[in-house]
């Protein structure tokens, strides 16, 4: 049992100060911008909630939000089952396990813009390995700077390449924590492979899968650097995710008010969806 001790606040104080410095002050700045209009020279006018209304009604925002949900939905639908399948087929012990884990974790440790650049080089139509293979060996016309579908497929593939390992590692961590007795008991009970998965492995992986899905949701919903480097949001606006659009508005057009309002709406959506995920996935535990 934990003991009641208000002095514990002293232990969390450094964390609180550092995170608050980084989170609260910028957040206040954002809130401040979001309700004002400026024409430069540090002159501001009270604007109320106009920016919020404008953003929420703008088609540009709806389109970016739609693309963002489509992207996040697709990568979750691919990475989570794929990650589980790979984790299930990995050996549980032996000398190959650390080698597998290190190789699998490698993509996660590459700076995000290098990931974008790497996939750019990899997919160049005439001199990239994948681009050359598709265009000249399989004869499929492929150029993601021209074709929005190709751009989407490439971005999704890149994210699967980049992040599926996170799901694999977490699912694998859940799997190796299952004692052998469960598998032995299931064998004796005459359970099929499917029942072993459904009634033993999946329930035991639930905690780590919740973490995996939450992390993948947050990070994919906030994705910026990789698609920015790979496609720059194009062709057209076809791969302009929320973050890319936000930076375009804030730094490209220097529309600080709308950008700030959009930031807050964006953050609120991320929080809301994370909370929904969390509540849905842990609902059973509460009963």
């Amino acid at each position: 049992m934990k003991t009641e001790n208000q002095k514990a606040w002293f232990f969390v104080l450094p964390v609180l100060v550092l995170v608050a410095f980084n989170a609260l002050i910028p957040m206040m700045t954002v809130v401040n911008y979001s309700v004002q209009e400026t024409f430069g020279d540090n002159v501001f006018f009270w604007q109320g909630l106009d920016w919020f209304q404008q953003i929420l009604r703008s088609e540009r925002f709806h389109a970016a939000l739609g693309r963002q949900f489509l992207f996040t939905g697709l990568i979750l639908a691919i990475e989570v089952p794929l990650g589980i399948a790979i984790a299930l087929s990995m050996p549980r012990k032996g000398i190959w396990v650390p080698v597998c884990l290190v190789l699998m974790a490698l993509p996660m440790l590459i700076p995000w813009n290098v990931v974008g650049a790497m996939w750019n080089i990899f997919t160049l139509p005439d001199i990239g390995l994948l681009g050359y293979f598709l265009n000249h060996v399989l004869g499929i016309s492929y150029d993601m700077t021209q074709d929005p579908i190709a751009a989407w497929v490439t971005i999704i593939t890149m994210d699967v390449w980049h992040w599926t390992s996170l799901v694999v590692l977490l699912a694998y961590a859940g799997l190796v924590s299952i004692p052998d007795a469960y598998y032995q008991a299931a064998k004796i009970d005459g359970a099929t492979n499917w029942s072993v998965f459904r009634f033993i492995q999946l329930p035991k992986m639930k905690t780590v899968l919740t973490i995996a899905i939450l992390l993948r949701f947050m990070d994919s919903f906030n994705i910026y650097t990789e698609p920015f480097v790979l496609t720059g949001g194009g062709p057209g606006n076809s791969t302009t995710m929320l973050s890319i659009d936000l930076v375009k508005i804030a730094l490209g057009q220097f529309d600080l008010g709308p950008a700030a309002a959009m930031s807050l709406i964006y953050f609120a959506i991320t929080l809301l969806v994370s909370w929904l995920f969390y509540t849905l996935m842990t609902k059973d535990d509460l009963n």
Binding site: A181, Q184, A185, K187, I188, D189, A191, F199, I200, P203
Partner: protein, 361 residues
Amino acid sequence: MAKITLSKLRHSYFPNPKSPSDYALKEIDLDWSDGGAYALLGPSGCGKSTLLNIISGLLVPSEGQILFDGQDVTELAPDKRNIAQVFQFPVIYDTMTVYDNLAFPLRNRGRDEATVRERVMAIAEMLEVTEMLEQKAAGLSPDNKQKISMGRGLVREDVNVVMFDEPLTVIDPHLKWKLRSKLKELHQRVKATMIYVTHDQTEALTFADQVVVMQLGEVVQIGTPVELFERPAHTFVGHFIGSPGMNVLPCRVEGGTAFFGDQAIALEGPIQGSPTANTEIGIRPEFVSLADSGLPATVTKVSDVGRHTVVECLANGTRINAITEGAGPDKGAAVHLNFTQSQTRLYVDGWIATLPQEAQT
């Protein structure tokens, strides 16, 4: 229900075992009759779990055969053997209700729901878990979880043998005896062959009709609890069973007589063969008494353990325990020890080497 025969069974975890020490199990021949309650008793690492896994089919032995009712099942998969196993930690399916947990082995074998219901209700009633049937199994207390694990083993009407692998390890002490008597009662009701693996002598001796004592991958003695106590075939059994264990005194044998120091010790009967080295005398503390004459010794410690007193003495540099009724002598007192002759035996290389008196006539 079946009779289980283990024939020339050996097992090694190494692919090419060379020396005997590479074997986790060394040559085991055993017969277990139908409907018996057996215990496998031994310290951790003695090979009892290996033996259990071979019987259940989770391991295939390096050499030898396992027969159920004379039929070779050595290579058969666990689910084809009609056996049940209860593990050290309760294995339950967290997401299912208690009812579905109990029904799981039957449904996997394609029994119709009416049969399933009838069996589950019967077992639930036996285990006294009827009122929990609709609950999620994840929320149960450890002892109830372990009951469900047992129930999944007993629910099938055709099991050849139910095996228990230290099933009471995680159970609270005050619930242990309850589950233990429940088990004994279940054995009498379902009449299945049961094998109970444990390192706890009390659990083994109270549960089993026949106890198999193992050490270092070998069976050292098979017998009823009384036999194990009264006539240990090996000094290990004497040590392992009883509290305190059997006294083992190094001795030398000259002309058919055993000497402890200068003192000749009368044995239960004649010595077999003419041993020269590694000879020891074994006598249980229950049969050592304090007397006016006999082996001189000094009392080093007296402990009152409730019903009797354990007197720890030192003679010729060897510790000897004696059990007496009432208050013992003072610490440091000089006493004489008397051994009951019919319970004094000679061991050579650890194995018993005297014949009891009546066996001669």
